[in-house]
Every structure is written in C-alpha cells, then in structure tokens.
Amino acid sequence: MHALAFYALAGLMVLFTLLTIASRNPVYSAIFMILSFAATAGLFVVLDAYLIAVVEVLVYAGAIMVLFLFVIMLINLRPEEQEGLRLNPLAIVAAGTFLALVSRALNDLGPGVGSSPNALQGSPGVLAETLFRRYVVPFEAVSLLLLAAILGTVVLARRQGSET
C-alpha cells in the first residue's frame, strides 16, 4: 500500500517538476509547480508527517505560489519568444555529474539511519512539544527573520519619488 502510494506520488512529483521547468508560459509553470507541491504533500502524508503536509500546502502552494502569480501578472510576463528551456550541454553534464555524485554520497549513510520506517508521530501535538520546548530560540529567531523580510520587501518595492 505504501509502496503504491509512494511510486504514484513520486512519479507525479517528478512529472510536474519537469513540466514546471520546461514550460514556455510562466503561468503554466506556476500551476504545474502548485501541482508538484500537492504531490509532495501527499508524499509527506505517506511519511506520517501530517502537520508538515498541511503546512506545505498552506504556505508553499497557497502563499508562495500565489505571490509568484501576482508578480508574474504585475510585470506582465508574456510567454517567451524562444524555447523556454534551452538545453545547455555543459549544464546537463554538470547536473548529471552532480546527480551521480550525490547518489553515491547518499549511499554511504551513517549509523543512525535504518532501512525500515519507524513509528513516527507527525501530529501537531508532538511537533509542537518539540518545537516550543527544545527549539524555542530558533523559533523566535525565525520570527525575527520574517520581520526583517517583511520590512525589506516593503522598502524595496516602494515606488521611488522620481520614478513613474
């Protein structure tokens, strides 16, 4: 059961990602990306990380992609004249090498990793317990980070006085 879900969702994720980077129309890319995130959320559920799955959909698919769409429309992006994905042989070789190396690296896993899943608890309660007990300082730091991001964005995107 798990296996079937995994392969299906995995395939979907890869497919949608591929379509994202290959589309000529930026809006199409955005939509495909949302779908890719949805597949990812499904994979998270398979991994028993329920809260993360929901957060993925809410934040990534819901907020971030919407922001992308807003910006695309604001700057009035048209589909590009040339082919969207220009196949750069050097890049493909580099990416291929990278993939090979990473796979090789991930083969040598340390002693703390098992090959069969454990009984992970992914409910909000368990997560919250850890988050607000052990990781409360990073939590506060991240909130400061978000504040900085907001301020930065506001300052950057303001229309300057002299510009039209």
Partner: protein, 107 residues
C-alpha cells in the same frame, strides 16, 4: 518495503531538476521557482530521514526533522518575498526580466 534509498533518490532527482531549471532558464521568475523546487526536494529528504531514523533506547522517535522542515519552509517564504521584490525593482529599472541582461559586473 520502501527503503530510505528510494526516498533519497527521488529527492536527488527533483533537486537536480531544479538545478537544471536554474541553469537553463532565462527568466528571473522561473529561476526563483526552480530554487523553490530545490528547497522542496531538500525538505522531502529531511522528512524521509526523520521517518527512517533509528528509535531511541526507550522507543521514542524525535520529530526533529519535521521541526527543521518547518523552519526551512519559513525561511523559504521570507527569501521568496525579498527575491521577488528585487525582481520587480529589476523590471522597473531595466524593463526586462532576462537574467542575461544584468551583466554589468564584467571584468
């Protein structure tokens, strides 16, 4: 049973796809999206590791991986906001969203 290797292979593949997107697209927005894809793939790997870690002596499994994913998502959101603001500025100033047109720091 799905071994962890499968998950990691998936994560690596999606990461590489994102990488290709960064290197091969001319549009700034698309490059940003590709970066998001890469971050997402990393999140997947984190949760996979969390799921496949060995339990502690008393059987509990710490959800630290998921907490880290939490933080990653937050940071990604912040980063996207600022990056898109910069992209907008770029568009306003140079009237283009092509990465190739922003090559002023030549030798």
């Amino acid at each position: 049973m799905i071994a962890i290797g499968h998950w990691l292979a998936l994560s690596a593949m999606v990461f590489t796809l994102g990488l290709c997107g960064v290197m091969m697209r001319r549009n700034v927005i698309l490059v940003m999206m590709s970066i998001e894809i890469m971050l997402n793939a990393a999140n997947l790997a984190l949760v996979a590791f969390n799921k496949y870690q060995l339990p502690a002596a008393d059987g509990t499994v710490a959800p630290d991986g998921q907490v880290l994913v939490f933080f990653t998502i937050a940071v990604a959101a912040a980063e996207v906001a600022v990056a898109l603001a910069i992209a907008m500025l770029l568009f306003r100033r140079l009237d283009t969203v092509s990465v190739d047109d922003v090559a002023n720091l030549r030798w």
